[in-house]
């Protein structure tokens, strides 16, 4: 599957295209399939998200998982600071990242 991701303009937060907007949670990401390039161009024009780009991902029962380690770390947060990730209370939250 293909995902569209970037960084939110005001905050810099990592965001994922959901099909209708942007979410901070990769689990909400939608498979953009063949429409990816068109959505990317449209969102670039909207100037809400910095440097949107398309990535490969794998569908799992827990949601999409980016194929490359860099995007998996983006999806989670720094692996060395679990307290600063999106799920600081869940010690297993990053088990799929590395």
């Amino acid at each position: 599957m293909r995902l569209l991701t970037g960084n939110d303009l005001p905050t810099g937060d990592v965001v994922w295209w959901t099909g209708s907007g942007w979410s901070r949670h990769v689990e909400d990401a939608a498979d953009v399939g063949q429409e990816g390039e068109a959505i990317l161009r449209r969102e670039e024009g909207a100037r809400r998200v910095n440097v949107p780009y398309l990535i490969d991902a794998i569908a799992t029962p827990d949601g999409p998982r980016p194929a490359h380690i860099k995007d998996r770390i983006r999806a989670l947060g720094p692996t060395v600071r679990p307290d600063l990730t999106l799920r600081p209370a869940d010690p297993a939250a990053g088990s799929w990242v590395i």
């Binding site: 303009l9 937060d13 380690i69 692996t79 600063l84």
Partner: protein
């Protein structure tokens, strides 16, 4: 310490106002990211993996308690409660919001700080010996010269769009504590016939193509310094390659045309530049130098230190260095707790360091390129009190220059350029060797998460480079580098390793060292005596 005059303050304040307007235009959609990116980078604002990152300049690594306290406040109010001290003696905040940035810069400006010259193809923040003004082996305090270069380089119209970024380091001692020979221009202050001047080294650097700089001029007097540096930059600006980012640094120019030809062109240009009258009157250097006058040391300060507390004695031997003033010492505060993140300090720790600087070090602190903090002027009678407060704050790890005092870039946990994580590897190595580090003695281990070498792996006695091997982190090991006065570039050992594999490989290297060393030899000494092969055999044999 240097204090802004009205021009300095006006420049910094105007830049804040200008950037505030640019941020507003970006947030309102008037500017695209392509238009905005070079503007934010000129103000130290990067976009990293998880957020914007603001790199704050700390000129020549020197700051006072008020400035340090400001950094703690910004960490608390605008970031997530911590900051990261870098190998360029700067500080990075990892979780900055774009809309907050003008306010942060405005607050920094109130304490004479900014984020100018921390990005872009300009002359970057000038670095210097962290023991400046305190070291017994220096011929002079290098910081007035560094400040003069700072003033000359800030917004220099001719050098704001160089072929590539450009880094200076200034030292004034035989011992090189600033990796001077691995900078685009390195300056060592020297005396000749009683006159203070500068030896100019050009063309060093790490990154993709590491090179050691060449001595281009052995003596430039203070009356000629700006003209000479202007000539050095002009020749680079004219001939440095703008067609290939990987060949754009000045080290490549010197490599391609040769140091002799570069020197010839610089000397020719210097004769022209000298006629322009850009060198400031000597009174200006004297004005700046006066601001770096030694503090009011107590001439009766006792030299004796009570070593009866064994833990204190260990720290004293490892982290405290000799001061030129009897009765005083230089305190190195390690930001490398075992298992911690190299260079990180939380807001409370930064605030404590500010307090200690104010109470015990004549209001001065330094940041080192090894990502530690220095209290440069501590009376020996105060050392125990300082140590106790550092201990309480988790800042008294007695490991300066040992294998656990690891330089590590932020790596793939934060950096958009990185190929592999540096920090978890540093944590594993520190944990593995914590019990043996004193037995191993001086051993400088440096980790970079990509070829850009922010973690100085080329200069490590043991260096590690993280690479991306088909989407998996892999680590290349290298041996024999040094950023000190015995400068050398590390040599890659062979095929890379997994994260755990490289820790095991380092253990085989250190075991070979312990089995091979002669009395008094550091790791690097043994490596240089016996050569590369015995260590390679230990790793792969």
């Amino acid at each position: 310490m240097y204090r802004y005059d009205q021009y300095d303050q006006a420049i910094v304040d105007a830049r804040v106002d200008e950037f505030r307007d640019q941020v507003e235009r970006r947030l309102s959609g008037q500017l695209s990211e392509d238009q905005f990116k070079p503007l934010r980078l000129m103000n130290g604002l990067y976009l990293q993996l998880h957020a914007y990152m603001l790199r704050v300049a700390i000129p020549y690594g020197t700051l006072d308690s008020r400035q340090m306290r400001m950094l703690a406040g910004i960490a608390r109010d605008y970031d997530r409660g911590y900051g990261h001290f870098t190998t360029r003696q700067n500080l990075q905040f990892n979780w900055i919001k774009l809309a907050d940035t003008p306010d942060i810069l405005a607050r920094l400006a109130t304490v004479q700080m900014h984020a100018i010259q921390t990005s872009g193809n300009c002359i970057r923040n000038i670095s210097a010996d962290q023991y400046a003004g305190a070291a017994a082996d220096e011929v002079a305090d290098p910081r007035p010269w560094a400040e003069l270069i700072r003033q000359w380089s800030t917004f220099h119209p001719e050098f704001s769009y160089l072929p590539r970024k450009f880094k200076f380091a200034v030292i004034a001692a035989e011992e090189d504590r600033a990796a001077m020979r691995l900078h685009d221009i390195g300056i060592r202050l020297v005396t000749r016939d009683g006159e203070l001047g500068a030896s100019i080294y050009v063309g060093g650097g790490m990154g993709r193509t590491p090179m050691i700089s060449h001595l281009v001029r052995d003596f430039v007097g203070s009356d000629d310094l700006m003209s000479y540096l202007e000539a050095c930059l002009r020749v680079y600006n004219r001939y440095g390659r703008r067609d290939n980012i990987y060949k754009a640094r000045i080290k490549i120019l010197l490599h391609e045309i040769g140091a002799d030809e570069y020197r010839r062109q610089v000397e020719e240009e210097f004769l022209l530049v000298k006629q322009l009258g850009i060198d400031p009157p000597r009174a200006e250097l004297e004005r700046i130098t006066a601001m770096f006058a030694p503090p009011a040391f107590d001439p009766a300060a006792p030299d004796a230190v009570d070593r009866s507390d064994p833990d204190f004695a260990v720290w004293l031997d490892q982290n405290v260095a000799a001061h030129k003033q009897p009765g005083y010492a230089i305190v190195n505060v390690s930001l490398k707790p075992i298992g911690g993140i190299p260079g990180d300090a939380d807001a409370d720790q930064i605030a404590l360091l500010a307090d200690l600087g104010a109470a015990y070090s004549f209001d001065e602190l330094r940041v080192t390129h090894a990502q530690n903090i220095v209290l440069p002027h501590v009376a020996k009678r105060d050392l125990y009190a300082v140590w106790r407060r550092l201990t309480k704050a988790g800042l008294a790890e007695p490991n300066l220059d040992l294998i656990t005092d690891i330089i590590a870039c932020p790596g793939l946990d934060y950096c958009s350029l990185a190929n592999a994580r540096s920090i978890p590897l540093a944590q594993k190595i520190a944990t593995r060797f914590a019990d043996r580090q004193r037995e191993l003695g001086e051993l400088k281990l440096k980790i970079s998460g990509c070829i850009n070498a922010c973690g100085h792996h080329h200069a490590g006695h043991i260096g590690i480079l993280g690479v991306d091997k088909k989407g998996t982190e892999n680590y290349q090991l290298s041996l024999g580098g040094s950023g000190a006065q015995d400068v050398s570039l590390a040599k890659i050992t062979g095929p890379g390793f997994s994260e755990d594999g490289v820790v095991d490989a380092i253990e085989r290297v250190t075991d070979r060292y312990l089995a091979t060393r002669e009395p008094g030899e550091r790791f690097l000494d043994t490596y240089r005596r016996v050569g590369f092969e015995p260590f390679k055999d230990a790793i792969y044999g």
